[in-house]
């Protein structure tokens, strides 16, 4: 047990160091941009794990909370002239409030109803965004959202240097949040609900309360990610409520492994890059979503635990023995 912890910790440490060093090695604005986008998705999918993965709630409204974060931030900045930095943090709270409002009626429902209602919620928001043109800018969205600037330092300077580290920081915080939550008594109660509802109830776990809390916890950083997205891209468009981001996020959490923390993060980075590469190839702009979808289907069919579940099966000892010239036994 001790040994396992160390191996994982070392890997995490190495990855973290690499991540911090990236801007030193990579000066290209576009590649840094890709990292930033993957970090944003990373925050979103890791947070999704709290409600979908740990608690087993069939939460299809998650991307809607992301969108609420985006538009919340946009409205705060453009309509109310709030400083972008504060607006980003407030977006998390807005998303959490929205989650609280949506969750209240649905926590007692059976699985299939939760799916339908949460899904409908997202679609409803899309319609609202299109129709309330005065507030949201309708189909064109809100543009020219100001850049992030704190105490005179503009984050976009030096080829998005600041943005890179801020997004990495947010990602790190959210990963920490989810990991700690997962190992806490609260997290354990969520997993108990997922694994055996009746037993959890008989042991005194309040189904409704825990589900409520998990949905809120799920939405906080998602909202922040949304706010950051709005400021970074300087645009809030209805696109965020469409199926494209949802497909990507779903693929990341599925391929990474629902319920695991690092799987979806790695998948977020991998898929974002793959997605961009495919987008660059002429003629494949629309087809790439089909590729992603097909990939998802294959993973679901052959490795429903996501690719992360295969990690444990990599025979590391055997491989290292091979390198050392030892015999490869059992």
């Amino acid at each position: 047990m001790n040994l396992k912890l160390n191996k994982k910790s070392i890997t995490i440490l190495i990855i973290s160091i690499l991540a911090v060093l990236v801007p030193i090695v990579v000066k290209d604005s576009y590649i840094r941009h890709l990292f930033i986008v993957s970090y944003i998705y990373g925050i979103v999918v890791v947070s999704w794990d709290i409600s979908l993965g740990f608690c087993g709630i069939l939460n299809f409204a998650h991307m809607a909370f992301f969108g609420i974060g985006v538009y919340g931030c946009g409205i705060l900045v453009k309509t109310f002239n709030v400083d972008p930095a504060i607006a980003i943090l407030l977006s998390g709270i807005i998303a959490a409030v929205a989650a609280a409002i949506l969750s209240a009626p649905i926590i007692r429902l059976k699985g299939i109803y939760v799916i339908l209602v949460t899904f409908s919620f997202g679609q409803l928001l899309l319609q609202l965004v299109y129709s309330q043109v005065n507030i949201t800018g309708g189909a064109l969205g809100m543009v020219k959202i100001p850049n992030l600037e704190i105490a005179g330092y503009s984050f976009i300077k030096d080829y998005k240097f600041g943005y890179y580290y801020i997004s990495l920081l947010f990602l790190a915080i959210s990963i920490l949040f989810v990991e700690v939550l997962g190992k806490s008594p609260f997290g354990k109660s969520l997993k108990a609900i997922r694994d055996n509802e009746d037993y959890a109830v008989s042991r005194g776990v309040s189904l409704a309360k825990q589900r409520f809390l998990s949905l809120i916890a799920s939405s906080i950083f998602t909202g922040v990610a949304g706010g950051f997205y709005a400021v970074y891209f300087r645009v809030a468009s209805p696109e965020v409520f469409s199926f494209n981001p949802m497909t990507l996020a779903m693929s990341m959490i599925l391929i990474g492994g629902v319920g695991t923390v690092w799987g979806p993060v790695m998948a977020a980075i991998g898929i974002t890059f793959a997605n961009e590469v495919l987008a660059g190839i002429k003629g494949l702009e629309e087809v790439r979503f089909i590729f992603v979808a097909v990939l998802m289907l294959m993973v679901m069919k052959f490795s429903p635990g996501g690719l992360y579940s295969l990690v444990g099966k990599i025979p590391i000892k055997k491989i290292s023995n091979l390198f050392r010239g030892k015999e490869v036994n059992g």
């Binding site: 069939l58 679609q123 129709s131 779903m250 629309e286 289907l297």
Partner: protein, 287 residues
Amino acid sequence: MEIVVITIVSGLVLGALYALMASGLSLIWTALGVFNYSHGPLMAFGAVVTWTVIEKLGFSLLPAAVIGIVAAALIGAIVERFLVRSFYGNRDLLLLSCMTTLTSMIIIEKGIQIIWGSRLKLLPRIIGGEINVFGAVISAHEGLIIIISPLILLFLWRFMASTQTGRSMRAVGQNQEMAHLIGINVPKTYLLVFAISTGLAGLSGVLLGGIRFVLPTMGAEPLLKAMTVIIFGGLGSLGATTGAAFILGMLEAILVQFVGMYWTPSILFLLLIVVLIFRPTGLFGSK
């Protein structure tokens, strides 16, 4: 007085459409415990295939529609056979099947967009002209929908209640093991359920194509409406779904008339939530 008649008639048309759309979804849910997201784009698929047969092969509406419906049923069968089937018996069937059908939805919708393009198309109506119903003027096509839909639903109901095949479809959803043991070919039954359901989706698409534009995304909003119908009515019986569809159609017609199109979806959603709070299994729900 005229407004009332117009509202009622619109409500009937909407209700008839929604009932047809929701019936297929309800069928799959009852028999398999699976929610088929690809139902939406399959409506578009039925419409678009029909359009192609009319435009490129010169067929008339009826035979073209049959081909469109069969095409939709075939895709549904493929989705069942190769995607959903592997998850039966899995503890996470609901989540996995939702993700699978959601993914198929994306593939089919994008596929239609790539193959047929996003430009608007129109399907011919069953009959042209308009009719006058107690002072409200609607297209004859819409009038026919009001008649056709209940007929089809009636036929479906009789099929499910009185034929061995229909009964076997209900049986596999209630007790799969027992179904095997009385000689029912369970996998074939599942396939049939999917095919019939998606065929219904194709039919809805063809009928819808006469009123609205044929687009790759034309199935998205109807799917949402069908989902709302199912939540409203509660899953489990065709009667509940049909009843809920007409109630929803009426409500929508009334709201659109008096509150306007922009706020109607939000109010309907709110109503839905209210219903679910007091009756967590829908208005007529049982399970």
